[in-house]
Symmetry: C2
Subunit: 240 residues, 2 copies
Amino acid sequence: MRGRAKDIRLWIADAIAKDRSRARDATNRLLAGVGPDERQAIVARSRRQALHPSQVLFRTGERAEQLFVLRKGRVKFGRLSSAGREVVMGILGPGDVLGLACFLPSSDYIGTAEALDRGEVRVWNRHVIRRFAHKYPQVEGNVLQITLAYVAEFADRLERLVSGTAEQRLARTLTSLGVGIGTPSHSSIDIVIKNEQLASLADISPFTVSRLLKQWERDGVISKGRGIVHILSPEKLLLE
Amino acid sequence: MRGRAKDIRLWIADAIAKDRSRARDATNRLLAGVGPDERQAIVARSRRQALHPSQVLFRTGERAEQLFVLRKGRVKFGRLSSAGREVVMGILGPGDVLGLACFLPSSDYIGTAEALDRGEVRVWNRHVIRRFAHKYPQVEGNVLQITLAYVAEFADRLERLVSGTAEQRLARTLTSLGVGIGTPSHSSIDIVIKNEQLASLADISPFTVSRLLKQWERDGVISKGRGIVHILSPEKLLLE
DNA sequence: CGGAATCTTGAGCGGCTTCAAAACCTGTGG
DNA sequence: CCACAGGTTTTGAAGCCGCTCAAGATTCCG
């Protein structure tokens, strides 16, 4: 049992480490397996763009004209439902790809991407990156893999949303965020996020988020400050 | 207003018509734009398999070794949540592709696929179809498009699930099913489905489904029998 | 004509949301 | 250095939506 808990923490730390390594060259996943020369050529046709907090990269329904690769910072990807409520579908970190819709022959962005902090993206125009994808099958294969990963992630999130109580959803949201954008420190995994965003992700109200986090803090599972959550015992969150 | 309603109905009928045409050759989307000779070669390496109701094509977590294209019948795609509850992610009809996970270098199916009625699929082994995808970039492009369409659909479903009341979710589920697997008749769109499956898709209880459908029937929006729903006024469902 | 599956209906209850208000942080500018 | 204004978080009370449970009605099929 005790060994099990350690395994889980190691597993999370490992997953985070992988994420870190991926961040070293944030175009890794898009250009994985591409030769240095081709890679050079492709990168040369992109431009860098700085991001400031709450800057919008693109909005739901806009014509998909650009592909983005996030290099630094975090980006919130979501939608405004018809009721005007925000539905956050995911929070992306360095190395993630945005705007895959531009690989469809004629399509619009399916969500809105908004920066959460200062950051940087690499940008390609639609026709440029598509030409490369056509020219280098390896790139197209990578795009396919990234897209499939999205499908898997959305499937997870779907399951999470419809299953169980608010407490379970928040717990799973936290652990999954820990793997995605958490930073490990001495004895905890830290996630920079506000209650309201957690609420959107877990599909519960900010009030309930507050109450649950407070409860967990009393139990010693997490500790928290304003805009940050420290996961002390990920294993306790997982065994819900 | 009245014109608007008619537009909506036409739009749905149109979407259904497109689905029908796609069903004529159920490998259309996978092999779209592929020359006759190549198409021949690819189809030759597949085999046909008959489906009987409740037959399982594959299960969550199994190694993805086969790609399926649904030719006839309907297939339910879902998961069992940790609580043992079934989460239906979608109901697929003729022309839909299953088992995309086998395009990942090493991956498992992310859900369970189960036939709902008698039907037929075309099956390729993982390495066979991957070789073709590699050989004919057009095929790989098609796979990418199909996958992106899944992402878009899942995103829709995510939004639907977290937004609004049970009534809204069921309404949107019904219209989306109408487009996907509905058959248009003289003055209605018919969907063969049981309350319980509707309940899973809209994430509400079967009892609530019953109550809502009854209500709508009283209002003349739909009529229904056992295991079938006739949508009489899709426009009324949409303007929730 | 049973018997099984499906659907209906009602009553009670509980988890979560909503609303309102107060407490709390954090950065800013005087 | 302090005070103030902004956003964030906490807490309590009330209410409601949809679930659960139980029982009955309906339809289908052998």
